[in-house]
């Protein structure tokens, strides 16, 4: 990739590291967040379990794609990762709470 | 019904296209001012919305929306080709 150098941006290794973090944030972290939300929706939604699971699956791809967009829009690679980690954590917490509290399967 | 929806869809994109500087100049001779652009685009959006009930009437609630989107794409494509491939009247550029 030929580059327009931006002298104030930092060493090449920092840039490379930042890029790697963003790629990790997009996939596999984006995929993990999408799956976690699919699981969360499957237990939260007030419908029959196979219907709720289907909704979770349908929505998951949008979440994954948007996560990838966020991974590159974020101000830094680390910010990309921690926001997605929080998003995934919320989903996991919701799923955990609902499973233990309500009991599904 | 389908024909009406198609005409409205094509009209919508004709208005969108002609509201741009380049094509307005080419086909209508002058650069459009802000009011004209607003009117044309407003009319275009109205045509887009108006086509919807005709599409539903033609094919029902399941296939109607599909027909609507299909006609919009078709109208847009035809207008695109017409505006770009039909030569403008001589003396205009």
């Amino acid at each position: 990739m030929s580059g327009r150098g931006n002298a104030a941006a930092g060493s090449p290794w920092r840039k490379r590291g930042d890029m790697i973090l963003r790629i990790l944030a997009a996939l596999p972290l984006g995929y993990a967040v999408a799956t976690l939300w699919a699981i969360a929706l499957s237990v939260i939604l007030p419908m029959r379990p196979e219907q709720a699971t289907t909704v979770g699956m349908l929505v998951a791809f949008a979440i994954c794609a948007v996560s990838a967009m966020w991974a590159f829009a974020a101000k830094s690679g680390w910010k990309a990762i921690w926001v997605l980690a929080v998003a995934g954590g919320v989903a996991a917490a919701l799923a955990g709470v609902m499973t233990r509290g309500g009991g599904v399967a | 019904m389908t024909a009406l929806a198609f005409i409205l869809a094509t009209l919508a994109f004709a208005l969108f296209g002609l509201s741009t500087d380049e094509h307005h100049r080419k086909r209508l001779g002058n650069r459009p001012d802000a009011v004209t652009v607003l009117r044309m685009r407003g009319g275009a959006w109205a045509a887009v919305v108006a086509a919807f009930p005709f599409a539903i009437a033609a094919q029902g609630w399941v296939f109607g929306p599909i027909l609507w989107v299909a006609l919009l794409m078709l109208g847009a494509g035809l207008v695109f080709l017409a505006l770009n491939l039909i030569p403008a009247p001589a003396g205009r550029k």
């Binding site: 990739m1 931006n6 840039k15 029959r48 794609a65 | 794409m73 494509g77």
Partner: protein, 535 residues
């Protein structure tokens, strides 16, 4: 490369758009092109079997299938009959023999399969995969276990979804650019072409990518059922509950006339029948299940009715599916487009062509843009050379492969062993030759050669049909066989288009000696690019 975090939102998405589009763009092109062709898979099934006549009476085919199966496989465990639609080449039937003690389940379907022609008799026809090849290829690829292929295609589809969304977000002044088409302006013309094919059919591109992922959702999201349906198979059991399994009694009883059952089922289901499955034919416990055709409704999850195979009484109808499942089924139905009328299917096809052009033009645009920035045009860096030549191999090679396969379908001897597989090998042999060529020669003469050869081969096919088969264009038009006529006409038009493209490329001369480029016009330094160049 400056820090991505310093760039604005639009710039970051432009970067993402470029790379998500480029990484698997070559796979995407082949998948998109094959999928587009697959919209006419039934027509190609017929076109590639010119010996077969058009099906006029599906009931005749069904009766013929029943006769054949009662004669050939009276004690099979199950029969499976595909009802021919209006454009099908015939009815296909296969049977599953009774499982023997100790024998492993290595069912070779090709041994237990037959094609029933329009006259109800088993058809002697050249062995070919027909249009089904393109359908299968666009998610199973070839020469690899399907699970790897589907994952690769899915990742490509996800990247495409990201490319579409980031492309929308990054595109400023979408109205002003919507109708712009600058001709013969090098990079800007490529950009306009890429934008036009992308934006004009944008609803289609978004839909096809998203719904494509949905069709493979269960494979792609195995953990989504981890909490609600942890046991294997429980999810499917909940979605599509089956009736009780059929137990063979050993008492022989004649099977009821399938035609009568299908007529009743079509009346009850509200649409034409697509499949007929008979379990334990000839036995007192026989069951016949008739499933509604996917071409008669939007959702791909069509309902079915199960009948008693001896008395013909309706026993069980598939339960209504919930809203979420109907939505998923409708998404799959939208993707496959089986419900579509003739003209809507043609529009699907046109949108698919636009999509293929969108992918191809995007990848060429990348090289055209990059060429301007090369420090030394005579010795481009490896990445640039790789993309440039892979573009030739993928975009020039795949259509050539398709043309080669269609010719193989016409020319390979009918009695040849493994003929169907060899037709496909011919596609990949031609594609491989294109790849070899792209490594060895410079890109421009390669483009001309590949595009030109493809054009000649495609246009020559209808000519061959006129003299070499009974289904030439004139015969098709005369008998009102619009599907066959349409394919021949399409081949002529695509052939002409490829030849025109080849001529255009041949005429492009590299411009100013300072910077070597493919476009004819010199650089316009004043006009800024509409989409900020991404790194």
């Amino acid at each position: 490369m400056s820090d991505l975090g310093d760039k604005g939102f639009r710039q970051s998405q432009a970067f993402l758009h470029t790379w998500s589009g480029l990484l698997l763009g070559w796979v995407l092109f082949a998948v998109f092109a094959a999928g587009t062709i697959a919209y006419y898979r039934e027509g190609l099934n017929r076109w590639m079997r010119p010996e077969l006549a058009r099906v006029e009476q599906p009931e005749k085919v069904l009766a013929g299938a029943q006769r054949f199966l009662e004669d050939k496989a009276p004690d099979a465990k199950s029969w499976f009959i595909t009802m021919p639609g209006a454009t099908a080449h015939g009815g296909t039937a296969f049977w599953v023999p009774q499982p023997k003690e100790g024998e492993t389940r290595r069912r070779r379907r090709s041994d237990n399969q037959v094609t029933i022609g329009a006259n109800g008799e088993p058809a002697t026809v050249r062995e070919t995969r027909g249009g089904e090849f393109f359908y299968r290829f666009h998610f199973d690829l070839y020469y690899m276990p399907v699970i790897y292929a589907r994952w690769l295609v899915s990742i490509a589809a996800l990247l495409m979804l990201v490319a579409i969304l980031s492309g929308i977000v990054t595109h400023k002044k979408i109205f002003r650019d919507f109708f712009t088409l600058r001709r013969s302006k090098g990079q800007r013309s490529w950009l306009d072409g890429h934008n036009a094919t992308a934006v004009l059919a944008l609803p289609f591109h978004l839909m096809i990518t998203y719904t494509g992922l949905v069709t493979l959702a269960v494979m792609l999201l195995p953990w989504a059922t981890a909490v609600t349906f942890p046991k294997e198979g429980a999810f499917f059991e909940a979605l599509y509950p089956e009736g009780p399994a059929v137990e063979r009694t050993g008492r022989a009883a004649p099977l009821v006339d399938l035609t009568a059952i299908v007529r009743d089922a079509e009346a009850q289901l509200g649409g034409k029948a697509g499949y007929v499955e008979v379990v334990e034919p000839g036995d007192a416990a026989a069951r016949v299940t008739v499933t509604r055709s996917g071409s008669t409704m939007l959702s791909s999850r069509t309902p079915h009715i199960t009948y008693d195979g001896v008395t013909g009484k309706a026993l069980r109808r598939s339960p209504e599916t919930g809203a979420a499942v109907v939505t998923a089924g409708s998404m799959i139905g939208l993707h496959a487009g089986r419900y579509s009328s003739d003209w809507l299917r043609f529009l699907y096809f046109l949108c698919g062509v636009a999509g293929s052009v969108m992918v191809a033009s995007g990848m060429v645009l990348w090289t055209v843009k990059r060429r301007e920035k090369l420090p030394d045009p005579a010795r481009p860096h490896f990445g640039f050379k790789l993309v440039e030549r892979l573009n030739v191999a993928a975009i020039g090679g795949f259509p050539l492969g398709v043309a080669a396969m269609l010719w193989a379908n016409r020319l390979l001897p009918v009695e040849m062993a493994g003929r169907a597989a060899w037709e496909v090998h011919c596609l990949f042999l031609a594609w491989g030759a294109a790849l070899l060529l792209s490594v060895v020669r410079k890109p421009q003469p390669n483009w001309v050669a590949l595009l030109g050869l493809t054009g000649v081969l495609l246009a020559a096919l209808p000519v061959f049909n006129l003299f070499g088969t009974q289904r030439g264009l004139i015969a098709s038009l005369w008998s009102g066989d619009m599907m066959m006529a349409g394919i021949d006409i399409a081949l002529l038009m695509f052939g002409a288009a490829f030849l025109a493209l080849a001529r255009r490329v041949a005429r492009h001369k590299p411009a100013a000696p300072r910077v070597r480029r493919r476009a004819a016009a010199p650089v316009q330094p004043v006009e800024t690019a509409q989409m900020e160049p991404a790194e």
